[in-house]
Symmetry: D2
Subunit: 357 residues, 4 copies
């Protein structure tokens, strides 16, 4: 996957190379995934108005992949660059990459809306994710569902895959009606204060057949973590019992094996589905921690890095008080894409439809 | 870095390509780093006896790098493969990759001591880490120090870089004498029970100049996480405030900028030194969660994957009740290597000594 | 460089990652390079009508590169797919990839106009080449000029860089007026017969400072050859004396060194500017052999690979009797791009304008 | 394949990653291939005495690949570095990389015997080649045979694959007894004069099933050329009719298809087995031009790049008057390795023995 585009440039998009030939490309499905991450859907999120209409430039013929690189773009429409004059003037927004990007690129970077560092680049992730999801679903029977586990101080219990699957019926993507309601209040409250709030997304899959992943540096957890940390605002990733297991003994943490029908399974899934960097027959369980949105309306002390002086910055424009619900399809996309990539590299998915290994 | 080797093969090692020419290679320093991860150092760790003597095969001339690939190996000596007959017979050790590796490689993998999935492969990481540490220290003035933050239920307070630097004077690598003592007890107690225990390592650096890291998929946090999850037993990684920030509001989490002397700094470091995938002038703060050692002496229920039957496995051989203290130089190595790699890719370190960008 | 697009898809284009920030992007220059490879320029070439107008989607801000991936596309306009019904029906055009592509992609490939295997994909090469040329010219003072050395049986003498520089003033890109005229006749004659003809392009540069290139597998000649063989119809590549040197003795072939002013130069340039995969202070000299255009109007015996039967194919549509003159900017583009890539990898060009190594 | 080592370092070797698990590793076969490239075999070649004994460090268990990286080294034994004092003093050997390497690596490179630029690094290529040859032979039934087509002014006619297969029964690797004899004389004559001579190797395969290769930049010819130009002394590569086709018309060059039994074949093979970067059912035909050995005993004018003065250099030590016969297994190795690599990337060879696509 090659990602390109900026927040306020002409387009954001993606080139996906290595897709097998013959895979059905369902533009309606991709559009549905894009709509799930789109801003402007509820009164609680950023009201930037983008239709986010996908345009496929290459790699598809008669609604199927050709084996050639698939390129898809979404044009940027509702661009209000006037709100970004202060960044261009050198005022660093706390929590954003304005200042390090300025240093790194010698001031040549596109500063409008964070430019290359904007969450808008995840449009490309979602396009790749929707296509990858079709691939692993059709070829390997894998399904993926993430849900909002926590927003601020409100936390949901651990949900099953079936429960998680209903996520998009809930405004906060938390398929527990009562908890979802309290999450709404948490976001409303932050919004009212001109503030923002963070959260945690948990992503689950159906059981994954053993052997997906490549030791050492392309282990499944390595590749998933690499992808997940490329999502803006992600600060933490853990698999299975994660940090909790650091406090446990081996006798509690080890997942013991049993034979269930004709397959080998474990009684618990503290590993989160990954052992030695490989899948081992269980569902993937990965949790992703998001910091609160960096753009808040409250005045913040900061510096002007062009003039080397201190000051106070009050942001205008449109900002989500909480990006976590919108990030659910993004996390699902990174997981779907990484599983598809590993399946192709492991030889589980062949280069042409119907010629799998 | 290309890693190779198996637990009970002839050697483990590493090829490092892309090192600048002219870097001094101090074999004594590398050996010291290797000794820090070596088993058999105290009564609390595995008593496998390995001298772990480094042998450099290529890429060094007159004690300096030549610009050609540097290859270094450590030969395996104290190999007691007889303890691994049960794995070869098909009994899956809970928590290990025996079963998924068997499926992935069709039974052709080397099963002795976990083979390719053994923590012994980290010998190569440490060689690369020690050399990378010299590189970033000499060229960019960066220093790195990790310490044991938690073992089981015993947790240290947040330490400063200076405090953390004394880590190797303490048996458990926790430079708080009293906490180190309680950690020793935690491990002894697990050992006495034939059990094991997990823990957390926190890695700190000196302040990193802004701009290190490459958006999107090679962001600094993406690359660090990828490397850290390639260490066996790692299940969780977080930067700065990490998961805690998920429960906070933006006004609390955002690090506000100030001018200190002639440089721009932040008043807090909740970001852990990374914004938008780039360094921003602060020290790196990353925490790594290790699960408890999977090899325990307590009998465990499991299956024989060759004969598809259930049974009970009691491990013999030599196993650490807690790998966390030995993992400190490994975490430091991955961080040093990744910073060196990003510095080279960012053009901060040039291809020849004295010709930096 | 990531290339994408098909002959008769919506667009062809390129994503260029790793460009330094701050490089001026001159759309007029890129357009001029595109025009040089564009069909429909003279009565002797294909009369497919394309304006080939470049559209930059990302990576440029205020007419300079930002350090983010630069994406540029050219939309396909004059698409006459009706001439390609026979390929779709399974008739393999001799000399084209129709048949192997059908096998490789299980019939899912886009067959129209050769799809992904069409020379139209070189539009992307030329965009990357024009930008790369600006980079190496501005930062390293390198200039590049290719000319048509041979068409069919008509061959030009070895030209100097200064002579070669006038190539675009001549219809056949051979800056010897009389030879250019005879080349025109060679092409006219083939065209009249419904046939085609091949040729050789020689590419020269100004002297290249020593040390560009990476041993072993990314030697300068390896990378150049890899790029040049990705141009459709290329069947041969040689550097300096090339195949001729195979018949010589070492005492004749070795370029002896001398001191010229303050620099080290060689008296001859049989090496073509590359020793051990590195530049050595002399100009690059590389020759590229093109086979005659595979699409000819003469009836040819062939097979239908869908119905497994033999038959005779008479091509319609628009075909160049000789692609060699149009390939001159393509060869220059591959050479410019590869030199820029190697210069960046060698640290000769830094990541930001004015911060070179 | 990661290559490492220097001419006079401790060892040369290779790490091969991505080999399928379960492939038989026949050390005797690898040793035989190494012996074919070994110096000291006849009175006409360099009498450096190396036993070139292979040592496998990782990736093999019970004589089969495990799926983990395979590392093999050959230790350097007969190292006479005293002959290289003049290079170290700064005298550039014409035709060698001494001078550009000195500039590139700021003088830190290992100069002894050419160091990293020595043909001794091809030991690693041959190890990888012998293993790759087993892989493509066993899994895909592909065989590879190269022979010496030309030495100096003596040229053999085009040989069939069956004829070429007898190459190692002839001192000059030219399986035409009379021509082989004249080649011997050509080399003897150059040797007597203290000079050297170049040549051409042609490499053939058995017919390759269609579809091997990846457009655009990893086309089969691109990858083969990249590998072949990494062999020291190679200056030219052409496929099929190669440069000759540049003088032909399309009607002569196009290979027309016919049905032979149940397969599609071409009547001629001017393409050399590659169309659009893909195999198309015919044998591969590739010719590789070698310049004459750069090390000659005749005195040559040159410069001292450390002292910036001119002078005359007379080489001592051991030098082949013609490396071409010894390069036959090296060319076969690059071709075998590249075909194996492309077959794995195309999904024709699966990750585990018996699980091919």
């Amino acid at each position: 996957m090659t990602s390109f585009g900026e927040s306020h440039g002409r387009a954001v998009g993606v080139v996906i190379d290595g897709l097998p030939a013959g895979l059905g490309v369902d533009l309606k499905k991709i559009q549905m995934w894009l709509d799930r991450r789109r801003p402007g859907q509820s009164k609680l999120v950023s009201n930037r108005r983008e239709t986010d209409t996908i345009s496929v430039l290459s790699g598809v013929y008669k609604d199927r992949t050709t084996g050639a690189p698939l390129t898809a773009v979404v044009h940027n429409e509702d661009v209000m660059s006037e709100f970004y004059d202060e960044i261009e003037a050198g005022w660093a927004r706390p929590g954003h990459a304005d200042y390090p990007a300025f240093v790194k690129y010698g001031g040549y970077n596109d500063p409008r809306g964070g430019g290359r560092f904007s969450a808008r680049i995840t449009v490309g992730f979602v396009i790749a994710g929707a296509i990858s999801h079709s691939l692993i679903k059709e070829r390997l029977g894998i399904d993926v569902a993430a849900y909002v586990k926590r927003i601020g101080t409100v936390e949901a219990r651990d949900l099953s895959f079936e429960e998680a699957s209903k996520r998009y019926e809930y405004s906060m993507r938390c398929p527990e009606a009562e908890v979802n309601g309290r999450m709404e209040e948490e976001v409303s409250s932050a919004k009212k204060d001109g503030d923002s709030v963070g959260g945690i997304i948990e992503c689950l899959t159906t059981p994954l057949r053993p052997g997906l992943g490549q030791p050492v540096f392309s282990s499944l957890d390595s590749e998933l973590a690499k992808g997940l940390f490329s999502i803006p605002a992600v600060k933490a990733v853990e698999f299975g019992a994660g940090f909790k297991a650091s406090g446990w003994r081996g006798s509690r943490n080890n997942d013991t094996y049993e034979i269930k029908g004709s397959t080998i399974r474990t009684r618990t899934n503290n590993s989160g589905g990954v052992l030695g960097g490989l899948t081992m027959g269980e569902p993937l369980v990965v949790r992703v921690g998001f910091k609160p949105t960096s753009s808040i309306y409250l005045p913040q002390r900061t510096v002007n890095f062009k003039e080397m002086k201190e000051g106070v910055l009050s942001l205008k424009g449109r900002h989500d008080p909480c990006v976590v619900p919108r990030a659910v399809p993004i996390v699902e996309s990174i997981v779907s894409f990484t599983l598809a990539d590993m399946a192709i590299r492991s030889g589980m998915i062949g280069p042409v439809l119907g010629q799998d290994g």
